[in-house]
Amino acid sequence: MYPEKLQNIIDLFDHLPEVERRETLVAYSDSAPKQEPRGGERFDLEDVRKDEECADTVGVYLQVDDEGRAHLRMTLGPEVQTLTRAMTSILCKGLDGATPQEILDLPSDFVTRIVGAELVRVRSQTTYYVLTRIKGVCKVYLDRQRRAVA
């Protein structure tokens, strides 16, 4: 149902007690800078903007390889909240290698299993924001592909 890498992350969080869930989210948040674009990388799409839904600028960079698999990089402004940083790492790692269409079709119910119902309840907008942005980039990419074929 989910891409394999994402499924592994979901399985990890599924069994974590609350304290360890928070610690693991913070660990993912710590690794968010590793998701930034690296020198020499080229992207099919770049979407860098500041939305009302987020405290600072978020950039999404999509590269689709010759096999049609997506690779994501992201940049986060300094004011971006910890939970958003954590979701950035989780989704960049978990969705790496999925196709843009698979990402676009991804149901969002896994977010609760990762973040936990309580954090989703109090920070619903934050928890879904990164996924929405990534899906947005994939949709633009697919629309362009379809137009190019037509």
Binding site: S29, E53, Q81, A86, R123
Partner: protein
Amino acid sequence: MNTNPTEYAHPEALVDAAWLEQHLDDKDIRIVESNEDILLYDTGHIPGAVHIDWRADLQDPVIRDYITPDKFAELCSRNGITPETTCIFYGDKANWWACYALWAFRLFGHRNVKILNGGRDKWKADGRKLTREVPQNAHTTYPIPVRRMDKEIRAFADEALAQSQANKPLIDVRSPGEYKGEITHMAEYPQEGVLRGGHIPGAKSVPWKTATNDDGTFKSAAELGKIYLENAGVKPDVDTIVYCRIGERSSHTWYVLTYLLGLGNVRNYDGSWTEWGNKVAAPIERSS
């Protein structure tokens, strides 16, 4: 303008980072971090600080209200707080949520409360130590408060209405766009289902951040006096009600008026605009 803390009405309600750094191990204080960013404490906090979440710890999970006195006693007990403990609050967003937590502690009658001037951001910007070590404080037995101080420091909708009708000071601390009715929530924040925009008739607009410097510290007593007493119509001998969207930003202004300017009759209308803007037949004023 240089800030001299001794010019505040209650300088004892404010500590600076240098002082706190020298008193981290004091037995009679408890440092309390309270943030908007729900995981920020976990990423690093002032050594010895405990975390109190404004929603999970201070609000009733079902009814829109604060926790009961027995829950407050439990909260304090598990954080090693006694009625004599001096709680020093700090947090992100220039102490928004820290002031909210402080106000909630006062609601339950906890007397010894202070704010770390500049909050978390200034502490971090100054290069002071943060740790991920969660303190293990011995449990205490905090007595259940006999009552909440709703009457003294909290206002309800009918009291805000009476304040408006009596032309007494009402301070709207939201952003100018919210005050004017152009938007019903802050930019960058979720729409929380408010049906009408505007402000309570007669309320003056003084965005909460007017009280702070760029580094999150409070402005001087003279500057604050000019903002609230000279320009916003707040009077020491007339009671004042402050409000925002859910009572968090207005807690910051409540702290400023109560502790830094020394007004003894300020109440926080925590129902604020998420209640007023949905309330059937509540009078609303809009301005351009």
